[in-house]
């Protein structure tokens, strides 16, 4: 699994993270972990639930050089036959999407009665 590098504007507003499944937004739960510049875990940055799809990460200056890991599950709806799903992780600043990606680690596929775990690591740089 490789880590994505995302550049945010140093002069812009706070950065937030949005995680949703395209067809059923309420079917994703995730934890966002924050790591320092040396990849040491600092703690959870926030949780993604069906009520909270967007997690604030912080001001550009405070997250410059930090890494994040989105670790979540796609919740099954007991579909039979299995249906396709696609998780989209977006980084937002000043009300617009800076970066959107489908995690390579089980970010898309088919889901039936078992939950599917997905993960998406990224590092933030200011520019």
């Amino acid at each position: 699994m490789s880590i994505s590098e995302i550049t945010v504007s140093a002069a812009g507003g706070p950065v937030s993270l949005c995680v949703r499944e395209q067809q059923r937004p309420q079917s994703v739960v995730a934890l966002v972990w924050r790591f320092d510049a040396t990849s040491r875990r600092e703690g959870p940055a926030g949780e993604v639930t069906c009520e909270t799809l967007e997690v604030p990460l912080g001001a550009p200056a405070t997250i410059d050089g930090k890494s994040f890991l989105v670790d979540g599950f796609v919740v099954p709806f007991a579909d039979h036959p299995p249906v396709t799903y696609q998780v989209v992780v977006s980084l937002r600043q000043d009300g617009r999407d800076l970066h959107s990606a489908v995690p390579s680690d089980h970010g898309s596929g088919s889901i039936g009665s078992q939950e599917v775990r997905f993960r998406y690591p990224f590092r933030v740089r200011t520019g």
Partner: protein
Amino acid sequence: MDPGGLGATLAVLLAASLVTERLVTMLKTAFPRLLADERRTGAREIDLVADRPRRLMVQGMAFAAAWFTAAILAAGGGPLGGDSFFASVRAGERLIPAPVVALLASGGSAFWTQLVQWAGAGRDRAVTRRAVEELEFRRVAQSLGLPPAECGRAGRRAEAQLADHRAFLLQRLRAIAPQSPVPAAERLP
């Protein structure tokens, strides 16, 4: 006092009161500006002084209607004459003068009005409750990605199970606490 006789008296008075109420309502409908429109102040509150003539008129008409009803009851099915208005109404074992019946029955107008308002409020509550249940029903259906016809009790149960499952998965994630942003394959607890 004989309870049976009291029941008959109350029945006569209630019946007369109901008839009176209906007669007054008909008159208010026929002459709304004169009898139904309450006089209000600039602050939209009832002006008791300015509204006094109208109230007296309505109460007078209620008494007249009740007296007319009492006279019919006193006539006992016979022809209605002038003396019927001062005859007595049989209420069980009692004989009550028609003017007294009129006085007692006309005072029940406010009671019936209140009763109708309560019934209306109860009906409005039932309508609101049904509307709220309908909206909740559709919300559950939408959250499950199902048409409303396929939901109902099963849908509500499925929604609760889904919420439990989400909470359980979130708990598992909290317990993992990865050591690096690019974790190796880890065994879930």
